[in-house]
Symmetry: C2
């Protein structure tokens, strides 16, 4: 049983250093720390990211600033510094217990001079008090002499070369050492307070080095063969986002911090609660069981529990990729898990969007539109932070224009959809009246103003856009975009009716503030009625105007391949083909499932599936493809897509897991199990399931919350 | 007398922090260190730059990496850390002795708790052994208790946010501490070894903190009122550019390092030699005397004495501006000083260009030309490192295209000119035969291939270029460019004749390697004869085609102004006017002085002078303008331009001295005195002067070296 909660490795390979740093990330929804080694390793990408701690960076505008490093702990055996790149590693094991978020490393090392010891590290970031961080280091020497354990706070960190932190000051008292830093441009102050305590063994000497920007505490302990010595490093972190006096807060927090054992018990109890509501049990498929837990773990450590001013980045808090920016990945891929299992987290994430309506309105306005147009990439302020031009990879005189921030506009409907889905599942009318309705109405307003009237064909169009399938950009009338816009407008009109019943004063308020005149609402009706959507007689929905004329590629004939079709054909070459990076029409049918007949879904599944780059296209694709495969009864195909999704990071399928967790893929795996294999659907009466389990699964069980009530699903074939 | 060697200040102003860091830069031709405070100050731009230690940076491609910091030294009075931003500063004085490069700071500080002391810092970077750096710190307490002096090496530095250094390792022995770092992309290793020794006072405790990336040595000394305590920090720095084992070299160097007094004597003796050959004596004008020495000092501390693989950047080694890249500033503005006073330094700088002929040939080739086209901005490899696109200052969707790297082509002729001038003044035939001739011939080859034949007018043209006056870009037939190209071609043919006499085997070699066929040489003749140059009947040379049609601006009517005309009118607006950023036609007449009649010089001086933005245009302008004013007998005007040039950094005229010394301006001041006021000219018989001293000057004296012989010029009116 226990092994189904473990991610582990029994050898250390330099070549997978960054991948494994991502895999062994731990966190608590306030911060996360990559699985770098306490003592460091040449070329490591060690990082701790804290939600909302952004700072300016050239080109990408803003990024989560790799925080001052709380992790460093070095061990010296008779003066020789332990490191995996020196001496001899005689045994090595590392494991992450997903059930408690405890990261362990046990190894036997022989120093260059021949001093040998068993060294055991453990660490966790407390879920009971998210400002508290613990490392335990136990050394069992095979020699006589001394063991030195040094722990420091390191204010000198960078984001792949860009240094965000400047030293403010530092101080020490008898037991604690505190370092204060601040970000270069955004001026966020961070204070970290540290203590280092011997737990076992004879302390020969203890020292505090007030070295600037690297305050260090040291314990020199007697080494007696076979006798363990052990020390605990405890760190408390606060920023000026949390409190006006981070230094005081961190010192106070540390003073009151429970010891390792008590802290770990509190922490484990919190994790037990998390798993109680989030776990998925799969019997008969150990790989799937562990992998789904790993993906859920990644979601749970990234989810802000006590802060509604932040969102989850496309790489969670686990890597430098996408610089902590949030995309539609949150609302469409990650949010369902939270809506169904931890609605207060979903609400935090939606509040983040609600608070940023002013910036979304500004973006619409500056583009000549009305209402709220959300940014494709969003960070602290809610302004558009998609880079526009980035340096060309090889040619120094060239730049590459990134268009997503300009024309991948479907995100505004995705956010409206998420607000509606949250309300639909939780029944949180109060929130919906206060905030959710406005999100849907103001995005509808955007869609109506963005629609272009085609006088020749007497229809509304959305031209020059990018849909979910990013293999094709600057396309006209992307089906997903048009249909989601239509849904957004339709839903806006419906909730306005609902509000008239339930909160007439809110209708008055919104009508005034959003200028919801009868004329405007009539225009919405008109757009809903006349929005363009091309459907072939056989039921195939054209992904965008002219898609059918693009070149068909027999993807099977390209096998075996080890790279994306977009890489094989080039960006422009791929755009000329029908090969898509991820489901687009199918995605639309998934989200608006009740609006399509099973025949329509089947026809489109058959048409688009062989045209999709499932293996090396978008990591967002496989989980959705798995659900739609279940819909058309192809459970074996569904399993293939599902297993591809859960392996995305564990097996580093795309070779870029070192940049951080593929968060949308991780969130999608929960949907693949719940909406795909279990076939859960919310109905007007409550809910229903439609199990379509892979043959070898002997049980699938999980819980979810509908309208505040815990519901249990337990499926056995 | 002594005061004429001092740059000093008697108050500390936060607002001029960065400007003064530049002014109080010290160096020894191997490295330079900005005048930041040992103990640090919030927001300081502390930096040490080492010649040739470049590393990758986004957008600008490469930059001098701000080295691991050797400067940190903190003083604690009964545990309270001295800093100018806390407690009370009761007196303050800082001075730089130009004669010895000794930087002193003396102040009286009272800690927040009331402990008061006189603190005196001194530092120098040894000119006798350029790897050795010294700081002396003396504290005279007014209290009982203890004084702690802490010195560390700080591996955590950055270039305005970009962190270049990664920690390798560190170690300590009884007396020395060594830190090894390496640059992120270029993998240059740097080792710094440090010791801290008490010179005066009772040591209560001494400690070495092995804090990672910030190894620190501490001395706790007894404080007795009125009794000085004193410690010396000595640092040795080597990089992998100097030796294969920088750590060993730095430790060895430190072990053999002389003590403060002996080291300072050696150092001062070297400086005395430097001044012996370089000093300019001006009597009757103290400001000019100090300022010219300050400008010479800046040149002398930036000049590579023992390395011919490096050049001097446009901001020397004194700031982040222009990222350590070299421009024509070296050859045209700085080199004459070295050619005339320190020819071995001039040769080092020219060898740097010679070694980079392969990259210059590659640049020509990739542009479709022949021969050698030197990069507008050059760094370690000799490839073009001018940024092409930089982010717009205010609009995030926009980029600004920098064209100088593409079309400011005159630098190839400037380098050829410098090689010829070095030969002309030094008579170093051996070098010229081995290297100089090839520089001139291969740039000539470039010019002939770059010339465009105009069939309509039967003439050669250079179109779409930028001349020295950068207010106007994308111009055709810039007079300076066309004329210098012609000179380059003409000189190439002449030296080929000379070589036939003196080194026929070299002619054979070059003819083969550079493909100097009779046909090619005939083409050179043709270009020389038919190169386009527009001269009005009255003798005014048109700066570029169409310049006369640009709008005349009455610059006097814009006074008083506090910014460049290009800022007032905008980049495009200024381009439509006749206002030029710096002399262009006059620059050409200055360099090719013997080819123009005094009438031609007068006419062009009269025409272009009122059209030049002398005050806020290019910092390269005033010194050249001063020389040409002397030529036409306007000595008072010349003095005004000269004083503007020598004040460029001292008074921070342009507000950007914090980015580093305006090196071309500094080099130009020497030329203004020597070629302007003294009117020195090399003649076929030897040399002559034509003194035109400002009225209040009572004496102007200097020496120079012609053909290995020291020549003395001593002018009294």
């Amino acid at each position: 049983m226990d092994s189904l909660w473990q991610i582990s490795e029994s050898t250390f390979e330099k070549t997978t250093l960054h991948h494994k740093e991502t895999i062994f990330t731990i966190g608590n929804g306030y911060l996360a720390t990559r699985g770098a080694f306490e003592e460091g390793f040449p070329g490591d990408h060690r990082a701790t990211f804290i939600h909302g701690v952004f700072d300016y960076v050239p080109i990408s505008l803003t990024e989560l600033a790799n925080a001052p490093d709380w992790l460093p702990l070095t061990v010296l055996l008779n003066g020789e510094r332990f490191s995996l790149d020196s001496g001899q590693v005689e045994s090595y094991e590392r494991s992450l217990d997903l059930h408690t978020g405890l990261l362990k490393r046990s190894l036997r090392w022989r120093s260059p001079s021949g001093f040998s010891a068993q060294i055991n590290f453990q660490r966790f970031t407390s879920l009971a008090d998210e400002h508290l961080l613990y490392i335990r280091c136990e050394v069992i020497p095979a020699f006589d002499g001394n063991i030195e354990i040094r722990a420091n706070l390191n204010g000198c960190t960078d984001n792949e070369g860009y240094a965000h932190w400047q030293w403010i000051s530092q101080f020490s008292n008898e037991t604690a050492t505190c370092l204060r830093s601040q970000t270069r441009k955004s001026h966020i102050e961070l204070a970290a307070a540290m203590q280092l305590k011997a737990e076992t063994g004879e302390v020969l000497e203890s020292a505090a080095w007030d070295a600037e920007n690297s305050p260090t505490r040291c314990l020199r302990m007697r080494a007696i063969p076979g006798k363990p010595v052990c020390a605990i490093k405890t760190v408390a972190i606060f920023t000026s986002r949390d409190t006006s006096n981070p230094a005081q807060a961190s010192v106070d927090c540390l003073r009151q911090a429970p010891g390792w054992m008590a802290a770990f018990q509190d922490h484990s109890a919190c994790w037990a609660d998390e798993w109680e509501r989030s776990d998925i049990i799969i019997e008969g498929d150990d790989e799937a069981q562990i992998a789904i837990r790993f993906n859920l773990f990644q979601m749970l450590i990234a989810a802000p529990r006590h802060d509604d001013r932040v969102n989850i980045g496309a790489k969670t808090l686990s890597g430098f990729g996408y610089r902590g920016h949030s995309f539609w990945d949150t609302e469409i891929f990650m949010l369902p898990l939270f809506i169904y299992t931890a609605p207060e987290i979903a609400r935090n994430l939606l509040n983040y969007r609600y608070q940023r309506l002013p910036q979304a309105r500004q973006k619409a306005l500056s583009n000549g539109y009305e209402g709220a147009q959300f940014p494709w990439e969003s960070a602290d302020t809610g302004e558009e932070v998609t880079p526009t031009w980035i340096p060309h990879f090889t040619e120094r005189n060239k730049l590459v224009r990134i268009w997503t921030g300009d024309i991948e506009i479907h995100i505004s409907a995705d956010i409206a959809y998420a607000a509606w889905q949250y309300w639909h599942v939780t029944g949180d009318d109060a929130w919906f009246i206060e905030k959710g309705a406005e999100l849907i109405l103001d995005t509808a307003k955007f869609w109506a103003s963005r629609a272009e009237w085609d006088e020749e064909h007497l229809r509304y169009e959305y031209n020059d856009v990018i849909g979910p399938d990013e293999n094709h950009d600057h396309v006209d009338n992307n089906a997903y975009t048009n249909r989601m816009a239509q849904w957004n407008l339709q839903t806006a009109l419906e909730i306005l009716e609902w509000l008239k019943e339930r909160a007439p004063e809110k209708v008055t308020d919104l009508t005034r503030r959003l200028d919801l005149t009868p004329l405007r609402l009539a225009k919405w009706q008109d757009v809903i009625k006349k929005i363009y959507m091309h459907v072939e007689p056989d039921g195939v929905i054209e992904q965008f105007e002219g898609y059918f004329q693009r070149k068909y590629v027999d993807l099977a004939a390209l096998e075996p391949r080890d790279r994306a079709v977009q890489v094989i054909y080039g960006i422009e070459g791929a755009a000329e083909t029908q090969v898509i990076k991820q489901p687009d029409v199918l995605m639309m049918q998934y989200l608006l499932h009740d609006h399509y007949s099973s025949e329509s879904i089947r026809v489109n599944y058959e048409y688009y599936t062989p045209r999709t780059d499932h293996t090396y296209g978008s990591s967002l694709g496989p989980s959705i493809q798995a659900i739609m495969a279940c819909e058309v009864g192809k459970v074996e195909d569904a399993y293939e897509h599902f297993i591809r999704a859960v392996r995305a990071d564990l097996r580093d399928v795309r070779g870029n897991a070192g940049d951080g967790i593929h968060a949308a893929s991780a969130g999608g795996t929960w949907q693949a199990v719940v909406f795909g294999f279990a076939g859960l659907r919310i109905t007007s009466q409550g809910w229903k399931i439609n199990p379509r389990l892979p043959k070898h699964w002997r049980r699938l069980a999980f819980t979810f919350i509908q309208h505040g009530q815990v519901q249990v699903v337990d499926i056995k074939p």
